[in-house]
């Protein structure tokens, strides 16, 4: 057990005492003794020391006492300051932390919005690509139809080529015959030959005309019978009518309903007939000339 005054009592007692047995004591005629335990002894010593210190105040001087007090006070202040500083630092760190948390949340929200906008743009772009894709698809189909029409037209023309070549060779043959007939004109039998040839020419010319007309009709039929392949509906190739129709359907914004057109009085010479008189004259002239007014013509029809 530690001694508050720094005195090791047990060691002291061991050094300054001797051991005696109970039998020895009896021999010496000691039959009873007073026992004093270590704790009580320690207590006695402590009390003695305290009484002595208290009884002798000159053991600690005023200066020493003040010094101890000042040192203690300084130490206390230092500890308080240290505590306050640490507390402030803690608070600042805590505030920074809160700010950072708020900023982080804000950035997360912005990121979310940006992500949604990007997805929306991507969707729009895909839609546009789809539309322009559709337009391109239609353009490609139109081009295909045009190429098919052109190809079939060329095929039609080509298919008629043998016909045309045959006719050409016939014409050449006839020309040869005519030339031959001219050469034998002096023999006298030429006039009959020429007449026969002329008749033959006429017949051939008529046949050629018919064949050409047939060829042209055939080609026209083939072209009009062309159906555009790959499209769902037939296309009528009348761009002028379609364009006109669409043009006239346009609803245009204007203020013409509120802006009145100017009106001008007709200038008539002083002695000239007025409109009714002129009209009456016109109708008379038309009737007198043999023409009827249009309404009467309609009734006749």
């Amino acid at each position: 057990m530690p001694d508050p005054e720094g005195l090791d009592l047990r060691k002291f007692l061991d050094k300054s005492t001797s051991k005696t047995s109970l039998s020895d004591l009896q021999k010496k005629g000691v039959s009873s003794v007073k026992v004093l335990d270590e704790r009580t002894l320690h207590k006695l010593i402590q009390e003695a020391v305290t009484r002595i210190i208290q009884g002798r105040p000159e053991l600690l001087t005023e200066g020493e006492r003040q010094k101890i007090y000042d040192d203690s006070r300084k130490e206390l202040d230092r500890l308080i300051r240290e505590y306050t500083t640490t507390k402030k630092q803690n608070e600042a760190v805590s505030q920074d932390r809160n700010t950072l948390i708020a900023e982080l949340e804000n950035l997360q929200k912005q990121l979310e919005i940006t992500r949604r906008m990007y997805e929306e743009k991507l969707r729009q772009k895909e839609a546009e690509t789809g539309n322009s894709g559709r337009a391109k698809e239609l353009e490609a189909q139109l081009k295909l139809v045009q190429e098919q029409s052109e190809r079939r037209f060329q095929e039609g023309v080509k298919s008629q080529e043998p016909y045309i070549n045959e006719l050409k060779s016939r014409i050449q043959m006839l020309e040869g015959e005519v030339a031959q007939a001219k050469e034998t004109a002096a023999s006298g039998a030429i006039s009959a030959n020429l007449e026969a040839l002329a008749k033959k020419n006429d017949a051939v010319a008529e046949r050629i005309t018919k064949l050409f007309n047939k060829t042209i009709d055939g080609l026209s039929r083939k072209i009009s019978a062309l159906k555009p392949g790959g499209l769902e509906e037939e296309i009528e190739y009348k761009p002028n009518e379609m364009v006109l129709e669409n043009l006239l359907k346009q609803e245009l914004e204007s203020n013409l309903g509120t802006v009145t057109s100017k009106e001008v009085a007709s200038k008539e010479a002083p002695n000239s007939a007025n409109v009714d008189e002129r009209l009456a004259k016109l109708r008379n002239v038309q009737r007198g000339f043999g023409g009827k007014p249009k309404e009467e013509e309609k009734k006749d029809q």
Binding site: L247, L248, S261, R278
Partner: protein
């Protein structure tokens, strides 16, 4: 006279559109409008309101704004911009096919609504030109479609014949009517209201404007302003600009008369007139001072295949064609 006579006339000119109808008082009502438009760079509600307040007609097409009619002509000259025209050389311009809806609105504004269902409307067409390859078939299709859409029953009449109907009543509608327009000269040789020979030539007012403008280094619109508003006399030009215009007018008269003469001489169905006939000039191009005198001079100086009684100006040259179209519309009624 209180009864409305149904039927309207429409002079479809390269430069001007004129609608005609009979008013309830028995007098002819005419509504002219320039057949042109100009781009306006701004399109917003305040501009539209302002234009309406100023009684400036506008149209919005495909998010573009246009001022149309007479105001467009004035604006083009003030702003030194090019005027756009739905028609060229007497026919619908293939370059301005998109302007057909705008022209339809112009026509609607001057014709008004039909007074009865399918009211007949006689619109003018040029005769086949003898000096170019223009074809009037598509032009007719367009106007048939436009007038049908406006609720009218469209009928066409040759422009030159309209001059005969409006100006040659005193001569039993016998003679030669010539409409001197912006795009063409239209000629009709008529015997008792029947057109015997009709044709057109492709040089007219626009040809003068374009050529004189090129020579003088200005826009054609400026030439038109000089011709129409400054009272120029082509027989007495006062300055360089009038001189240039005068030269082209002389060329025009010579060219037109030579073509008429050639055509008369070639024509198989040229009638034999028992008496000398009058030549009547109408149309905007004929209104310049000295033009009729120029024609008189030129006719007198050439061997014309017909006996000509006189060359005279129409009573109301600017509106003669519209009035003739109206006469045709009204005479079509029993």
């Amino acid at each position: 006279m209180g009864e409305v006579q149904y039927g309207k006339g429409l002079d479809v000119g390269t430069v001007n559109l004129v609608a005609s109808e009979m008013g309830p008082d028995g007098k002819i009502v005419l509504r002219p409008q320039r057949n042109c438009f100009i781009d306006i760079p701004v399109e917003d509600e305040s501009t539209k309101n302002r234009l309406t307040q100023l009684k400036v007609p506008y149209v919005v097409q495909n998010k573009r704004m246009y001022v149309i009619g007479d105001v467009a002509f004035d604006l083009a000259n003030v702003l030194n911009k090019n005027l756009r025209r739905p028609m060229k050389d007497g026919l619908i311009s293939p370059r301005e096919i998109d302007a057909v809806p705008i022209m339809m609105l112009l026509i609607d504004s001057i014709l008004g609504k039909p007074r009865t269902a399918n009211e007949p409307c006689y619109y003018t067409i040029p005769a086949e030109p003898i000096d170019s390859e223009l074809n009037v078939v598509y032009h007719k299709e367009v106007f048939n479609a436009v007038l049908t859409r406006l609720g009218y029953k469209p009928m066409h009449i040759i422009e030159g014949q309209c001059v005969v109907l409006s100006e040659l009543a005193e001569e039993d509608f016998t003679g030669i009517g010539i409409s001197c327009g912006g795009g063409m000269h239209n000629v009709s040789v008529s015997y008792k209201s029947l057109p015997c020979l009709t044709f057109s030539t492709s040089r007219a007012g626009d040809w003068i404007d374009n050529n004189a403008a090129r020579v003088l280094g200005v826009k054609p619109g400026k030439i038109a302003v000089i011709k129409e508003r400054r009272g120029i006399n082509i027989l007495k030009p006062q300055n360089r600009e009038e001189e240039a215009i005068s030269i082209y007018y002389r060329e025009l008269a010579k060219y037109t008369l030579q073509n008429i003469k050639d055509r008369f001489e070639r024509a198989e169905n040229m009638p034999e007139f028992p008496d000398p006939v009058s030549i009547v000039l109408a149309g905007g191009t004929s209104m310049v001072k000295g033009y009729v005198d120029l024609w008189k001079e030129t006719v007198a100086g050439m061997e014309f295949p017909l006996q000509v009684k006189e060359v005279r100006h129409a009573e109301d040259p600017f509106y003669s064609v519209a009035k003739g179209a109206l006469m045709a519309a009204l005479s079509g009624q029993a």
